[in-house]
Symmetry: C2
DNA sequence: AACCGCGCAGAGCAATGCTCTCGTTTCGGC
DNA sequence: GCCGAAACGAGAGCATTGCTCTGCGCGGTT
């Protein structure tokens, strides 16, 4: 019967959900290194071996948490950006930046899992690339919108994008920056890691005893990068 | 006797050196997660418990490796920068950037240890801050030199540094950017994480299936950041 | 009603970090 | 030169981990 089979699969899905939920809590508290399948099993009141019916290995659990993490950032970024007036492109960019930073500060271990060292024998399975791109997609939409409105005026005095960048630019255009010229795409590839570099620096302790007003400093830096790619000050 | 006492201490120092050496090899091959005190002891032909006479815990070994790593980057950066003509400030900046990137590509696991997730129960002991600053010191010297030669002309059209940044700027001035105005210091705090963000993106796999000509793309991005802080194109 | 398979528990294996104890070597003050 | 104290090394042991294998029992299928 289809209904009964679904019943079985439903309880299975629920168990997977519960395992993932507990694992996420452990991750948030102890970090990826402290995540133990046995501890999760203990908390669920089941034998450690039973967990393997749902996640074939610890790394698979990690992968699931990575995907969840990317989706959480994606949600936060999308929501923050959606709350801005459409024509305030710089504001939308800043909203993205602060959403990433706020989420990272609220979930440091999960952020470390996403943008820190590749944890196990790594690999980064294909399932992660979709969720991992969501924030960049939002970023691309902001830039593309500004460009469509002829509002992009990147400051001059910078070197042009290198010749060899053409092929990469085309691929990036198709994925996240439709219709934008090579120079803007190249600047995007400068700006986007800049955002994550700033967040990682702050989160991984490089700003200890250096920067105190971190919100303002971050905001300033992101404003600068926004200008650099051509977003107009309002 | 001083010599005899030194004899004991010398063999001790040699053993510590050997342990660290082997550990570094294991780290380079297997990553921080795979570094095992027992494996190191095995390779040295001594009991695992004996290792603890030299490193009281695994984390202490990791800390030693972190310091070594920072010093290795520092060496590479200093050497690369020293090889440039003094008046070619943009070239010196680019040399720094490429030195960091090249070192990271050659020692991915060690780089991850330095700039990835804080590994154990983290903490970052005080001994690491000196070595950790060496590359930034070189960077600061380049900018300060350019400023002293009145060659710094940061492109306009960017927002000024926030009010609250003054105190932080003063601290940074004293440490690495002597004599520079707040605006430049603030831009430095944008640019410096930008460098590491770019390296981390490339190394941690965010550029997979995105950027192919990574050297050129990196060089372009760093040129842009160099211009942003005011280094003159030559 | 017979049966097949999924889900679970328990034991077990190979590792790990770290501690303790117990001999042995070495150093330094007498 | 001698002897006690400190440093050193080995071995066993504890708690913990990821993961596998072997059964057992209930649930759903035919």
């Amino acid at each position: 019967m289809n209904a009964s089979r679904t019943a079985r699969e439903r309880v299975r899905a629920e168990l997977i959900e519960e395992i993932t939920e507990i694992a996420r809590r452990h991750l948030a508290r102890d970090g990826a290194a402290g995540l133990s399948l046995r501890a999760v099993a203990r908390e669920m009141g089941m034998a450690s071996s039973a967990i393997y019916r749902y996640y074939p290995s610890r790394d698979d659990l990690l992968t699931a948490l990575i995907i969840d993490g990317y989706n959480a950032v994606g949600d936060a970024v999308e929501k923050a950006e959606a709350a801005c007036p459409r024509e305030d492109h710089l504001g939308r960019w800043l909203a993205i930046c602060h959403a990433v930073r706020d989420w990272a500060l609220a979930h440091p271990h999960e952020y470390a899992l996403l943008h820190g060292s590749p944890v196990p024998g790594y690999s980064a399975p294909q399932d992660t690339v979709g969720p991992a791109m969501r924030d960049a997609l939002v970023f691309g939409r902001v830039i593309a919108d500004a460009h469509r409105g002829r509002l992009l005026d990147p400051p001059g005095g910078y070197p042009p994008a290198p010749e060899s960048f053409g092929a990469d630019a085309e691929r990036i255009r198709e994925a996240v920056l439709p219709g934008l010229p090579d120079d803007i795409v190249a600047r995007a590839v400068t700006v986007w890691p800049g955002l994550y570099g700033a967040v990682s620096f702050e989160l991984f302790g490089q700003y200890n005893n250096v920067i105190t007003d971190r919100h303002a400093t971050f905001d300033y830096a992101m404003r600068g990068l926004g200008r650099y790619i051509g977003l107009p000050e309002h």
